[in-house]
């Protein structure tokens, strides 16, 4: 799966969970500061991403995922 495909999948999840406009979900955007995703919505995004991409994202890792790009990179690596 390419980075773009992962980012598009994340954008769909972000739209469903937190009402984020998919056009805004660029790799450089911060979940908290740019996309207004609060800490509990972030958990919902992570849980949905685990199901969709068949990866494990541990609790300890969630705090390191500051931007959409961080999440794309983690999923890309974890999926290999």
């Amino acid at each position: 799966m390419t980075r773009d495909e992962i980012r598009e999948g994340l954008a769909e999840i972000l739209e469903e969970v937190a009402g984020v406009n998919p056009d805004d979900a660029a790799e450089d955007k911060s979940f908290t500061d740019d996309l207004d995703v609060d800490s509990l919505s972030m958990v919902e995004v992570v849980v949905a991403a685990e199901e969709r991409f068949d990866v494990k994202i541990p609790d300890d890792e969630v705090q390191n995922l500051k931007t959409v790009g961080d999440a794309v990179s983690f999923i890309e690596k974890a999926g290999k």
């Binding site: 609060d38 509990l40 958990v43 919902e44 849980v47 609790d59 969630v62």
Partner: protein, 318 residues
């Protein structure tokens, strides 16, 4: 040997909340927060805070109402069990004080502490005691005065909690009568014992919100469904669901995965906050008082909290 008792049922409910209301606007004057932030994060509009009322006072008040509603008297009660994690005294326990307050003569008087999941644990324990022939009529209370253990300068926790109590009276079913309390589904996740805590050297409630949210919304729905099924109740036939009132988003997250599509979902958290072991009986008693639960209809209780612990069962209300 059997005593002929094959089940128990709820014959009375009651609750008590302090009269002092603490709104989100009130909190905004104490810490850096606002109504919109609190409502969007946890769904709470206001909570009740105890003033003069002790844990035992609130437990006794709720138990007294449940006893009055049951048609039984203090003389009939031989088992008092109180779920709480905020009793200040190590002894006497709260159950003894409730018994003394109501003039109950010589009951078994027991407190249990499984934090927020205490009430369904206590209902199960009372159900088991009656079915084993060790008791005939029980008062089961969930009570909490979390305001004593809240850091009122910490905006991430002080918006969450409230005080209150709820109680039910349980009695044996007649021979041939269908049990009104279903088998309990209970357990714990000891490896997550650090996730919710009120520690001796730092006596303020604290939690890893994200971990608890994830655990609750991803693992509890199948356990709650099992509690319904083990009572022979199809999930779509459940009339009401009373989850522990921790956070409206957890309640809605579990409800979405549960599939109890025809059930009224308790949302007492909006007006009461998180009252830990009191939240389930408080929400339940208020729903019954408002006529939202048909007599005899299956109600699914499911609570979860510090430990981490969880417990739930089907009950039927008068």
């Amino acid at each position: 040997m059997t005593n002929g008792v094959n089940g128990t049922k709820v014959v009375g409910l009651g609750h008590y909340q302090p009269s002092k209301v603490l709104t989100n606007e009130d909190l905004a004057k104490m810490v850096d927060t606002n109504d919109e932030w609190i409502v969007s994060r946890v769904g709470i509009k206001e909570r009740r805070i105890a003033e003069d009322e002790t844990v035992a006072d609130m437990a006794t008040a709720a138990a007294e109402k449940a006893l009055a509603a049951s048609g039984l008297t203090a003389a009939d009660i031989d088992y008092v069990i109180v779920a709480t994690c905020t009793a200040l005294d190590r002894t006497p326990n709260v159950a003894s004080r409730v018994a003394a307050g109501l003039g109950i003569d010589a009951p078994a008087a027991i407190d249990i502490n499984t934090a927020c999941s205490g009430f369904p644990h206590a209902v199960a324990t009372a159900d088991h005691a009656i079915r084993a022939g060790a008791a005939t009529n029980a008062i089961v209370v969930g009570v909490e005065r979390l305001s004593d253990f809240t850091d009122w300068t910490d905006r991430s926790t002080c918006v969450l909690f409230g005080d209150g109590a709820g109680a039910v009276v349980l009695t044996a079913t007649a021979p041939g009568e269908e049990p009104g309390v279903g088998p309990v589904v209970w357990g714990s996740v000891p490896e997550m014992s650090d996730a919710v805590r009120i520690l001796g050297d730092h006596p303020y409630i604290n939690q890893n919100g994200q971990s608890v949210f994830r655990w609750a919304t991803t693992t509890l729905a199948p356990l709650a469904r099992k509690a319904a099924e083990s009572a022979g109740v199809k999930i779509e036939d459940v009339a009401a669901v009373v989850f522990h009132q921790a956070n409206l988003r957890i309640i809605e997250g579990i409800a979405k995965r549960l599939g109890a599509d025809n059930a009224v979902i308790a949302r007492d958290i909006v007006e009461s906050g998180n009252t830990s072991a009191a939240s389930v009986p408080l929400a339940l008693s208020k729903m019954v008082a408002r006529g939202e639960i048909p007599s005899g209809a299956p109600v699914l209780l499911f609570a979860f909290g510090g430990g981490l612990t969880y417990a739930g069962q089907i009950i039927r209300c008068p």
